[in-house]
Symmetry: C2
Subunit: 312 residues, 2 copies
Amino acid sequence: MTIHHHPGKERIDAVRAFNRFYTRQIGLLDEGLLKSAFSLTEARVLYELAHRDGLTATDLARDLGLDPGYLSRLLKKFEERGLVERAAIEADARRSSIALMPAGRQAFAPLNRGSHDQVAALLDRLAASDQDRLVKAMQTVQRLLGGDGAEPKVPYLLRPLQVGDVGWIVRRQGLIYAQDYGWDETYEALVAEILGAFVKSFDPKWERSWIAEREGEVVGSVFLVRKSDEVAKLRLLYVEPSARGLGIGKRLVDECVSFARARGYRTLTLWTNDILVSARRIYEAAGFKLAEEERHHSFGKDLVGQNWNLEL
Amino acid sequence: MTIHHHPGKERIDAVRAFNRFYTRQIGLLDEGLLKSAFSLTEARVLYELAHRDGLTATDLARDLGLDPGYLSRLLKKFEERGLVERAAIEADARRSSIALMPAGRQAFAPLNRGSHDQVAALLDRLAASDQDRLVKAMQTVQRLLGGDGAEPKVPYLLRPLQVGDVGWIVRRQGLIYAQDYGWDETYEALVAEILGAFVKSFDPKWERSWIAEREGEVVGSVFLVRKSDEVAKLRLLYVEPSARGLGIGKRLVDECVSFARARGYRTLTLWTNDILVSARRIYEAAGFKLAEEERHHSFGKDLVGQNWNLEL
DNA sequence: TCGGATACTTGACTAAGTCAAGTAAATGAT
DNA sequence: ATCATTTACTTGACTTAGTCAAGTATCCGA
């Protein structure tokens, strides 16, 4: 259900530039391996065999992009040297699963160490924070290009607020509403004030925050604040555009409602604006009723504010 | 002056995983080129020649990691086919600068288009926001690995606050002070409240913000707020750890001081804590005098707050 | 049961790259 | 000024790494 978009020339050029850059980078890293007894491809095959079990020749050819004939000979050579062993697969006499023998592991060890040390040296030139950024960026690239719709096992998880979340939520809400509805910087400021006050006067017994995290990134949040013994207020519900459609918004509201019920509040209230249609649907589905509407001029726009209530 | 840090095993493994992943990725992309009349290396050479002027054989061999002998023959073949031309370099008779001839450009065009289209197709599978993230992540990788101290031409630039900055500054200050000094989430909350209030009651005539940006990223900021006709307050000075040593902190304070002078304030005041030593040095250098100190318990720590004043 | 696929294997090739040795020019040290 | 060293290629001799096509055995679906 993702919306696709024709890429601009700058993006294409940036990706091509990166491809050229990384072609060279890999070339540099591979130079180190070349003085070993194994060719680059042999090393790649050994790596795969060392890290995965039950591989067949076809698996290897597919995953490494090798010619089956070439691979066949390569494996034969390995077998003759006692580096690998082929075991028949009972279900299919054509295939056999290939495994490293002890001699193979021994032959692979120095290659592996060489590659490990080389990467360690590369990273060592960077400050720790830059190492982190590098790894994160690489994982992003890998996930976006490789993932190919491979959804994470846990679509998202909920946790309470941590240091750094407040700023992140302020920023994302500011940017998203500016982009989608043209709201000005005073909305971001409002979110900052609300969250600043929330943390400052936070009462864990009566109040709570839920942060939705997906693959380590914040993708949504909601806050429940105490207005009185009887009334709690749901504030700042938001879901990242990239994480919409996973039911995160509904889940966040549901958590709020259960928490409010469990604490014995009688009413859960919230304020929103009529243009926020998808949020409205979630509130309606959760049983909220529209209590009142009023026009106001905020965030540089003419808006219609709405109060919604849920009797618990 | 960057601090280096021995990389952990997970980081090394993550980088190696990425290398293997991208080796395959490049292999896939190169398959497209292989059916052309040119080999992969020939295509790479043509690409370089098409995009850079005045290259010599040595430049090409170095940048593409090629064997000089191989390259020599390759260029000779290109020259015979009329694809490139070698011009003597007057200063050095050993070298000659290699340039694409019209026939070379013509031969390169379909290759270039093929590669372009392939990348376009790759990107096309992603949503626009993911395309953006991909490109950003690639640029991060490239900068961190390739940059190798290649400093940007403009080390940083100053601009006023934009939407998204408030949240970013809140987050970064929250994280940095939590990491460096163990301050709890109430500091982040305080920053959020201060900035929320700043934006809300912003008076452009008497107040101002300066955001330091380096390669598109926020790396520092400072705010000047009006306390009275006579007194202005400097607030929330911060510089990203990765951007320290560039004089950004000093510059931000200097901007504040000039602005305060230009607006006719008599006193510039600020509040800080004694443990923030590098900030203190900047204030002293700018002529601020320590006015008073008081102990307080904030952000989960026992601290010594300080008020500094500068008579303008 | 039979017409494809699939999972290799083998033979025949060669493009692509390496390595070492050589030439001519430049550069640096005396 | 000169001479050893380095740089910028070039050339010859070689091989490895990889391709392509054809073949065999097995499996799978209608």
